[in-house]
């Protein structure tokens, strides 16, 4: 029983193909990492699922509902939330307003307030600065806010695009701790783009390796780290160097 199903999709920008013949299944409650070099099409894949980019071929389903062709706001209603690359915080809105943007699709007003209280409990700094402009937060705080904001739509599946981008390793640890705790508490499904396979291996989960718009490898993140397929994806055919950065 697959929760998210991506069937043979293609994404192109004008004539430039970004994703090709891509098929992927993500089970309910699963944690899946998408890794691969820059330009592999990882962000495009997430954008296609969220409706931010159109697919030129194939179909995408969530729990049997067809997502293909629906606008992003309709896909959000079906339970998919996104933390985009670069986070895209609303800098001119306050911290709390950022959290509330995504609550328009909910009818459970009380649960909304509880969720906000819970986010403030988990990230006290966000609570302290709830009335401050979100643009003034540090990168790490913005990442936490973006994750909190994604939670506020009450999603089943959260997609996070490169959460470690531009953050100190310590903060990245914190971000992943948060994501994993949330996943356990809420039974979320996570689809995470993470360039560092070491990081993915440490957090644990399934890993999908992309290159040139296609999936070129797939397996347990821990097993994948030192596999030839990975090195090949990053460095062409010669696997002598291995990725070590976190």
């Amino acid at each position: 029983m697959s929760k998210l199903g991506v069937f043979d999709i293609a994404v192109r920008y004008g004539k430039v193909p970004a994703v090709n013949d891509l098929t992927l299944h993500v089970d309910e409650g699963e944690r899946v990492f998408v890794s691969g070099p820059n330009g592999a099409g990882k962000s495009s894949l997430l954008k296609a699922i969220s409706g931010a980019a159109a697919t030129s071929h194939g179909r995408i389903e969530l729990d049997g509902d067809l997502l293909t062709g629906r606008p992003p706001e309709a896909i959000a209603r079906l339970g998919i939330s996104m933390v985009p690359e670069g986070r895209d915080i609303f800098g001119s809105l306050t911290v709390e307003e950022n959290l509330r943007v995504g609550t328009g699709l909910r009818r459970d007003a009380e649960a909304v307030e509880e969720d906000i209280a819970e986010i403030y409990a988990n990230f006290p700094i966000l609570g302290e600065r709830r009335a401050a402009a979100a643009g003034a937060l540090s990168g790490g705080q913005q990442q936490m806010l973006a994750i909190g904001r994604a939670l506020m739509t009450n999603p089943k599946l959260i997609m996070v695009d490169e959460p470690s981008l531009g953050l100190a390793p310590k903060i990245v640890d914190q971000v992943y701790d948060t994501l994993c705790t949330l996943q356990e508490d809420r039974g979320l499904t996570l689809l995470i783009v993470e360039q560092s396979s070491l990081r993915a291996a440490r957090v644990g989960g399934r890993m999908v390796l992309m290159r040139g718009g296609r999936i070129v490898g797939e397996g347990n993140a821990a097993d994948m780290v030192d596999r030839d397929a990975l090195a090949a994806a990053y460095f062409g055919q010669s696997p002598e160097k291995t990725e070590t950065a976190t």
Binding site: A52, P71, P72, M82
Partner: protein, 304 residues
Amino acid sequence: MSNLAQLFFDAASLGGLYAMAALGIALIFGVMKLVNFAHGEYIAFCVFALIVPSTDAVAVMFLGKAPALILIPVILGLGAAIAVASEYVVFRHLRKADPVAMMIASFALGFVIRNALLATYGGRPKAVSLWPGLNTPVDIAGASVPLLQLIVILSTLLVVTGLALLLKKSRIGLEMRAAAENFTMARLLGVRANRVITGAFALSGALAAAVALIMVTQTGVADVRMGGQIMLVAFIATVLGGLGSLPGAVAAGFLVGIVSVVLQAWLPLEARPFRDAFLYTLVIVCLLVRPQGLFVPASAKPRV
């Protein structure tokens, strides 16, 4: 002293009118990155809605006969309706198009509305007397001020605070501000694009109607061209304020109004016919010094 007070009321009421017109443009630009050049024609449309359609030289009041309590909401609603309808008929289909294509479509739409008005009402300006009582002067601080000027200043304050409250406190206001900053991100969070855009057009059209009511009462004339003139000033004010910035549009609208009243009063008599040339020279200087707009913090990233 009395001269200064007079100047103050002139400047505040003209500035308020410009501010409202500029707000109407900035609202749409904020959410859609569209400079809606049909905005002036929404204003003209609302003015002509007051009189009976005919090409006769003498205007016969139509909606204009209704008592203010009915007339005002009806005209505001009409303004909102024509703006929303134009979004539905024209702009909705161009959302994914180039901003330039949308802008040209707005020119074309304005042209269509203007010519429809010309065909229905004829080209000659008509005398329209809406609420003539409002032009009776009242004495304040030694200045003799038409009641209308006070009403204009008051209603500007009312409209601006009302709009600020709506944007700050209401659900649709929050969605509009989020969408103005990053439309895709807002949609990814479930914000309905259609709802936000329709809301922005409705507000913008209602603002056009408010401007129409003020202009027609002030000038006593219904003229197809009146929308175009104020649209130009309002557009300049929105650019000056920083395209898409609502507080910037209000501030720049007031500034343009104040400067043109001051120039009118203080320029040597021979130079007064060229007041607008002086005004626009100042505008160009402002834009050369601060191309991002006067009232946008220098640190803000460019919106266009």
